[in-house]
Homo-oligomer: 642 residues x 2
């Protein structure tokens, strides 16, 4: 194996700290809660119908389909998350529950392999008839991801067999052959799922099927356009108003894209699949396309919080640098998609910028998606909010001013669950000559190097403290290289091995420590975390003249409980001293940033010619990810600078 690859989930254990606590919440609260929700057992919550739909399709009970046509995918994402949980925390009851559920799925599956309760129960005549809108292959993709996760976690082939049968049907159905449909899905997802299936089963034909979907996308004659005409529709639906089929990344072949376009989640899932295929098939044109889009996203389309998608209407990318803070869509799922893409870019070769972006998305946009207690979620993650205004303006009508328990379109909560349940896959990469650590969190990792089993014990309070202690414990002394990521935000990192300073400098964002390691060897990494002022390129017009605060990977914001309302009136002088202070009692324990700012006083009239008067205002910024855990109020990441 020449590429960096993730460790098996069972080999990574998070024990304590900021990420571990969120992972625990997902295991103990989110996954059980979602199971109740999917079974329509949460009092007061909108019914999901997910399990019900499969039971009806399986003939286990009478009834009608409930929900949206992609409803099955909510259950699939839950199975995936629950499987990851089994991998790290075996649980006989959960495993048995999954076995029963999978048996139902098996009964629900049609003889030819088809499995989609909406089309089986509601529109059997319209199978594959509206690929543009109906998410059939998207749903199949999530089922396939679930099957792979379940197989990997349990070794059982029950769900894997079901999804292979489904994938086989898809393989027979789609393609350029005479009796095949030359189409592809309006919502990418099946592509990356098929690569996972190919890896899990060793069947390269599934990767080739994914490659077909990728290659055919946007080709002339345009399949989705032909399909639209075949249905007699005169125009494309509302969400394609601005960008047409580019909303679905289907206006031209994917290798011709130079800027991200259209629906942000779809674009990110497409890029994840492209990166996977570039690697598995050695397709250099795909790799180049990924690199081009990576650069474009990072240089022109990424929110400071690691999110993407600046336009709620169509949940889309728009113009380069069009990143308004209050009208951000920055969907939780899209930031998860950024992590998927970054994780895969990393596999082309270690470069710190991939982990930097992954870390930025994780600690900010993604974590903002879930409340401190794991029971409520954001779909949209603005960088600025005035609740009364957001409730009155159309462009903010998808913004929730407080996290909510569930969504009619419940994509984000289970996506968060599967990410956090599989967080171990993002912490480190196995390399031919050792291991690379990307993210720092207290816990234990097991891997193999130079033929030896090695255990790493990491102790840290990252992202709050600057120090990471790593004990290296090979079963027997072994020569290998431990690569430690030195984050892009960090200047002046220092490292010691067994107390001896390391002189080497990081290369491409990683410090390579090659030696013969002996049990008990200890590496101490210090990552200085001064409070940083961050400025955006002035082409990000709405935040020109403003400043954001960051410490380590954590982006900060001002919130109303600490400052009163009208946060636009608050300014931070460029010369103000800013200090970081641990607040163990605040928001589950975090580090706040404090300093002396000013507040512009209200005017006597709406407009005045006198320069506005200011009064001192103590500032206390909190981590952005923790906002909206203290009631409804204003929030602001980009602060006026005076």
């Amino acid at each position: 194996m020449n590429y960096p690859s993730a460790l098996p989930l069972a080999h990574v254990r998070l024990t304590r700290g900021f990420l571990a606590e969120r992972a625990r919440l997902v295991r103990d609260v989110v996954i059980p809660y979602q199971w109740e929700a999917l079974n329509d057992r949460v009092p007061g919550a909108e019914p999901s119908g997910c399990v019900h739909n499969f039971q009806v399709a399986a003939g286990e009970k009478p009834g009608k389909f409930y929900g949206l046509f992609w409803q099955d995918s909510d259950l699939a994402k839950w199975i995936e998350a629950a499987s990851y949980r089994l991998a790290t925390h075996p649980d006989a009851a959960l495993e048995a529950e999954l076995d029963r559920l999978i048996a139902t799925l098996g009964k629900a599956q049609a003889a030819d392999g088809y499995l989609n309760t909406y089309f089986q129960l509601v529109e059997p005549q319209n199978r594959w008839a509206n690929l543009r809108d109906c998410h059939e292959l998207y749903v199949a993709g999530h089922l396939i991801e679930a099957g792979v996760a379940h197989f990997r976690a349990t070794g059982k082939r029950s769900l894997l067999a079901i999804v292979c049968k489904l994938a086989d049907l898809i393989e027979r159905t789609f393609g350029l052959g005479p009796a095949q449909i030359p189409g592809y899905c309006g919502h990418e997802e099946v592509e990356l799922a098929l690569v996972k299936l190919a890896r899990a089963t060793g069947e390269a034909r599934y990767a080739r099927l994914a490659a077909y979907f990728i290659d055919q996308r946007g080709r002339e004659p345009n399949y989705l356009l032909a399909e639209t005409r075949r249905r007699g529709e005169e125009k494309l639906p509302w969400h394609m108003y601005f960008d047409g089929l580019a909303t679905l990344q289907a206006a031209r072949p994917v290798r011709e894209l130079t800027e991200p376009v259209g629906h942000a989640v779809r674009q990110m899932y497409l890029l994840a699949a492209m990166a996977d295929l570039a690697r598995d098939l050695g397709d250099d044109s795909l790799r180049r396309a990924c690199a081009t889009l990576w650069t474009s996203i990072v240089q022109r389309h990424l929110y400071l919080t690691g999110g993407v998608g600046g336009e709620p209407y169509g949940e889309k990318f728009t113009e380069p640098f069009d990143l308004p803070p209050d009208r951000a869509y920055a969907e939780t799922c899209a930031a998860i998609g950024v992590i998927f893409f970054a994780r895969r870019m990393m596999e082309f070769g270690l470069r710190g910028e991939y982990a930097d972006v992954m870390e930025r998305a994780l600690y900010n946009n993604v974590l903002s998606g879930m409340s401190l207690d794991g029971t409520r979620f954001f779909y949209v993650n603005p960088l600025e909010l005035i609740p009364a205004v957001a409730k009155r303006r159309y462009e903010c009508h998808l913004v929730k001013t407080q996290r909510v328990g569930w969504f009619g379109c419940a994509c984000c909560p289970p996506n968060l669950a599967r990410l956090f349940a599989s967080l171990g896959e993002y912490l480190a990469s196995q390399l031919p000559d050792g291991l690379a650590l990307h993210l720092y969190a207290e816990g234990e990792l097991r891997f193999t190097a130079a033929g030896r089993d090695v255990r790493l014990a990491v102790r840290t309070d990252y992202p709050w403290t600057e120090t990471v202690a790593i004990e290296v414990c090979p079963a027997q002394p072994a020569e290998f290289t431990l690569r430690l990521r030195v984050p892009g935000w960090c200047r002046g990192a220092t490292t010691t091995v067994n107390g001896q300073p390391v002189a080497a400098a990081p290369v491409d964002g990683y410090l390579a420590l090659g030696r013969t390691w002996t049990a008990g060897d200890t590496v101490n990494l210090t990552l200085p975390m001064p409070v940083e002022r961050v400025y955006a390129d002035p082409r990000v017009a709405p935040v020109a003249g403003r400043v954001a605060l960051q410490r380590g990977p954590v982006v900060y914001c001002l919130e109303e409980p600490d400052h009163g309302d009208n946060l636009a009136a608050v300014a931070l002088p460029r010369t103000a001293v800013l200090t970081a202070r641990a607040e163990p009692g605040l928001l589950g324990g975090c580090v706040v940033i404090e300093g002396q700012g000013v507040r512009t006083r209200r005017s006597a009239s709406l407009y005045q010619t006198e320069p506005p008067a200011t009064v001192p205002q103590a500032l206390r910024a909190i981590p952005y990810a923790l906002w909206a855990n203290r009631g409804e109020g204003e929030m602001r990441v980009w602060i006026n600078e005076s």
Copy 2:
């Protein structure tokens, strides 16, 4: 007569200068062009169908109705504008054209007085059935305004008789009587029109009918809600998503409103009618409601350019201080509505703030609505534009980045035409003891004071120069008071009469010059116009930390032709010296504001921790009203301050 009132149009002549040139354009270009457009004779333009519809309804030609259900109002507004033109510039050909058109209208009118070509030709069975949406009374209102204007300009009763017959039908149809409809129009307009009709005919019952519409609006049981239910509609239409029937100012009785709400044009037309009725019927509760709303609008809902309506979705007012510059709707018609309301508030008693707002709206938002050559128009008037972004974001999809020749919904161009053709009504007020001058423009005014005919000759290059010379020429010496408005933006105004300084200070914004005037008396008014920096209350969140430039009544903006793009990168140091300079060759001749600013350089990466580097940037601000006359590009009123 105890109230200040407008002079007859024929008694006011604008001869030269900024406003006169726009009025001339309206007379010579806009009104003739619109006549061609209304007759479907403009090659390449979308057909209007207006004249055609009336000819078909009159039986003069075969054919079908063309256009929207309020299409007749475009023609009505044109007749009104053309009539104003006749009043100031008699023109036998135009008068004959109007006579022919009015004859057609007469033939089109139903025996019972009904006149609305859409309902006559398309849905005769649905007369008055959907008052909420179908604008029938709104269209009637514009016909009535046209009839009054034509009568006043020509003395002919041809159109007046038609609209009286229509108003009589409305009077019979609507009301709380047993066989009457207890309804009112979803789009206010008929109310203010009926007051004009009452004044023109001396028939107080038309004012009472207007009062019925005002009083009944929003009362329980809610007529529009009952009507909605009667049609079996389950929910209100999309544009009422946020505010329900308040979108139409119909959620509660108008006297209970404390903040402006809903569709901005409708709110302003309603207020204009309320003010008229408060005056004509001596209704103090209505006057108080007007005063409350006036204060609320001026203190919390008015754009610096004098526009209103910060939300494109539903063309609405939203929250207090929610005045984003890039997402402004600030419809040309709404700013015209501000002028209508301000002009009427002035009639309760002179107070400079009414004329201040009227002048602000006129010189900025309203004039922005028309191109320098009078052939192209803005409907939406943002205070900030990045063309590429506006073309990609939904909340900007109604923004045009360049003025256009005509609109499918062509309300604004004819509204501009009727305002500029009747501009004389806004310059001055006849008072019992003399005259008050509100706006300064070169020309001549005739009025009566102390029983004498008086002619005022005004010489000025206002708003570009600070001096206004007024020659007072009574037919014989006469004792009366000339009141000169000293604008709210002006400090240190000085006045001389025949070279002698006047010591008196203005009261409520007007300087009262009472004396026995003799032909040739000359008043010289000097209104210092330094460049002013303007700051908004910090509750106008998007422009906190920014500054705007104003000189006299003129608001300025930066434009791309003078600065390149990315105007957000441009900042004005608070200490920069700003100078005004006449530019006779620029944009028809105007005064620009110049100074030394700075430009933030583009960053090497999207985000950086170094404070951004700046380079000097010479600034040249142009009058906002003249923007977008040099090709498509960025524009920005609120400039970052450094």
